[in-house]
């Protein structure tokens, strides 16, 4: 706690009194605290050594600059004692950093403490999928977690290497295709929304592959999870109903699953069962608004280069009704 406070103060000083959404200096879990404290240690040591050595260099450059009438300086070839000292001191400094680092490596990579909640995090080009309770809840872009409970994130990939990082929650980890043994776990300590994105080049829209962690109270989280387990609401009004038919006719079901719609079992794109409950879409690139949805549906590859979702050649009416349908999937 005290350490977090000190770190926080130092951080604000360093980061210019600004807490921007993806800053590394806003730790909101014990895992994030731990990594940041270690980083701060290396910053302090590094800056201290750096400033000292630069000062000595500048001093030498000024003090010993050539002046008119200078004679040949003493031809010193070395000094074993001094060289021994200035080798030993760096060894001690790095040994100290290593001494503090090694335990953290092992504790942070130990298996998650029990009880913890497993969330499967699956990277795709160019969005993140989240599965809870053995796939009984499948959602995308926004990972809900309850505050104060340990979450164990299993990192997986459906295509190429991605890297999952929400700076507020702690250090990143790669998601490898074919590997199932990458986990990061942490206990979020504050409610709020914390953004992140992919940190391993994964193709053209690597920069567009974003996500959010939504940390909620236990009650809110439980309500959210329960709602997510429900099948999709049947479309209530005309446009949404027509939209649900367009959804089938235009082939959306080939890639997108909607629980409760038997023909929609596609696993290529995000599960859309509760699409309207999300604040963002398309890999958290866009806000979930009518305007953004219309633009996206018009031409996905134009909005997101390299997008696996093709341009379906939808006309404006088809887009209207699809938007109505998607917005009914609460």
């Amino acid at each position: 706690m005290c350490l977090t406070l000190c770190v926080g103060i130092a951080v604000l000083l360093i980061a210019g009194c600004e807490v921007t959404p993806q800053t590394a200096f806003n730790p909101r879990s014990e895992y994030a605290d731990e990594g940041l404290s270690l980083f701060m240690l290396t910053i302090y040591a590094g800056v201290a050594v750096g400033v000292l050595v630069e000062a000595i260099l500048v001093f030498a450059a000024i003090r010993y600059r050539r002046r008119a009438g200078d004679r040949l300086p003493p031809q010193i070839h070395g000094n074993t004692l001094i060289e021994f000292i200035w080798t030993t001191i760096p060894v001690l400094i790095v040994a100290w950093i290593l001494f503090v680092t090694l335990p953290v490596i092992f504790t942070s990579q130990a298996p998650a403490p029990q009880p913890s909640m497993l969330v499967q995090v699956i990277g795709h080009q160019f969005w993140w999928e989240f599965q809870y309770e053995d796939g009984s809840v499948i959602t995308a872009n926004e990972m809900h977690l309850p505050v104060g409970r340990t979450a164990n994130l299993q990192l997986l990939s459906g295509d190429v290497i991605h890297s999952f990082w929400i700076p507020a929650l702690g250090g990143k980890r790669d998601a490898f295709p074919g590997h199932t043994t990458n986990y990061v776990w942490m206990t979020p300590n504050s409610v709020g929304e914390f953004p992140g994105q992919c940190y391993q080049l994964c193709g053209y829209s690597h920069g567009n592959m974003r996500e959010r962690a939504i940390i909620q109270t236990q009650a809110e989280f439980d309500a959210w999870l329960a709602a997510q387990k429900q099948p999709a609401a049947a479309p209530a009004d005309g446009p949404a109903t027509e939209g649900s038919q367009v959804f089938v006719q235009k082939g959306c079901i080939g890639c997108h699953a909607i629980q409760g719609v038997p023909s929609a079992q596609g696993k290529v794109g995000p599960n859309l069962t509760h699409f309207a409950s999300r604040g963002t879409f398309a890999g958290s690139l866009f806000e979930n608004t009518t305007a953004d949805l219309r633009r996206w549906l018009k031409d996905p590859p134009k909005e997101k280069p390299g997008s696996v979702m093709p341009n379906l050649g939808l006309n404006d009416h088809e887009i209207d009704v699809l938007v109505a349908y998607l917005q009914s999937l609460k």
Binding site: L38, F39, I43, G46
Partner: protein, 645 residues
Amino acid sequence: MAVVTAPVEHGGMIVAPPTIAAPAYRGLWSWFTTVDHKRIGILYGVSAGTFFVIGGIEALVIRLQLWVPNNTLVTAQTFNSLFTMHALTMIFLAIMPLSAAFFNFIIPLQIGARDVAFPRLNAFSYWAFILGGIMLNVSFLLGGAPDAGWFAYANLTSRQFSPGPGLDFYMLSLQILGVASLAAALNFFVTIVNMRAPGLSFMRMPIFCWMSLVTMVLLLLAFPSITVGLILLMFDRFFGTNFYSVPHGGDPILWQHLFWVFGHPEVYILILPGMGVVSEIIPVFSRKPLFGYAVMVYSGIAIAFLSFGVWAHHMFAVGLGPLADAVFASTTMLIAVPTGVKIFNWIGTMHRGSVSFKTPMLFAVGFIAMFIIGGVTGIMHASPPADLIQHDTYFIVAHIHYVLIGGSIMALFAGIYYWFPKMSGRMLNETLGAWNFWTFFIFFNLTFMPMHWTGLLGMPRRVYTYGPELGVTGLNQLSTIGAIGLGFSVLIFVVNLFLSLRSGDPAPDDPWDGATLEWSIPSPPPVYNFARIPMVHSRDAWWAMKHPERMHLDAIEVTPLAGGPAHATEQAHEVVATTAVSDVPPVIHMPSPSYFPLLAAVGLALMAVGLLVADTAGPSVIPIFAITGLVVLLGSIYGWSFESA
């Protein structure tokens, strides 16, 4: 054959220089057939400079695209090609060949030799390099440049996820460049080991030669790893194997290991020659010998050895497990020590010296200042939990540019200003040099210092755009302005270069009161370098010959605890003023020009072309080009083996 007649002597002194009986070098064609290490050095230098400008333009476009969020200057596809090619160009086509320019021109001169051990192999290295560089860049025009990063992680590089020809250009060009590097490494290794002048023991050798020797060993041991990695990639992309593809039993991690086992020694390949250059310049401009020469040699060797044990610090986010992370964290921290003490030795050289800040020294001291910063952030990445915050963000981009530009490039610029008089016979303009340095220093820091913050505010690497909410817009703009300023600084250098070549002050043999043998011969050197091979009695051989009181008394010296002038156990060494141990031969035989090295390089490149055009011309062209190219390559080697030397 270049026949050189003896200098005319009278009473032990040379009164007329040797003459070249048959004119060896005339016209443009002579540049294609030259085997003279000095000319090859210039070829490397001019080529490296050109590629440096190309890589710089790529960087400028990158920075302009990142001026504001959601910018549309270039597409995402183009942007990915730009950062890939920027890195490949700067690493393989600018820094390495610029170092090679100095290896070529300077090493034989510093060891008192007339050329390298294998002059035609030397020329072959250059031609293979330039053809590889052209092949890589021609990809822009032939279907797309590589766009998966210079590190090209599998399985993004598989045919499935990168269907275009870009990665094929990447793979084949790097193989050709690898051949060029290996040939050069072998050549210079043998040259340094075998062709040193009499009396030039290893511990009397100029420190630049030592750092170069260590670099050659690194090249020889590191390149095979990426060669294997690229061959496996070639097989995956062309012949349906699955080395890097998981569904069939392969693993993308294999590529990462193979790449970084090469990639980490590669960064020391990039910095050690520059450190050697700076280690030459600082003593000369401080009028004192290098402080702790022996330790500088041993630390270079230690760095090379340790560099093969740290590669997985590029993989701390991969999930190799805590034991692997712990081991590589330890070795990485360890390698910081020999790297760091070099900085102290350079400062120790300046200490109590008489330091003149001509342009070479400005760049050398600037190098030390910037390398300190890059080195310090390097230590920050060495701790895995801390690195998981920095990895793949702009914080790393900051680090690499502090060590590569603030480090390697500034050191190599120092070398250019230092050795330009020797290479061209002209002095570079000092005023323009100072302007070059200060604009470079200021704009370099303006570009890359903000990136430490940009990265810690969460901006990833290799993204063509970013969100405005990240709060990094202003920082990106500072970096872009700095990059434009850097371009302006390079322009000043180019102006200096051309003006000085045309009308710079004529350079004396020894404009700086140099310590090493290249300053004992005319500027530019005659084709045979030394009329008579010198006899060496000391480290800093030329200082010793000019000023016997500056002579090192022996290779290993005893220094008193309090510092001060060195003295050793007494050994009677007399410096004989006219040391004519090797008589001037009546005829100096120089290696003959040959077109076979160029032809061999063409053959090598031809072998690759089939794979590059197979998409349009069909797979049958692959063996046609491969065999034709192989025949040309082998025929050329046969030709040059039986050519008269």
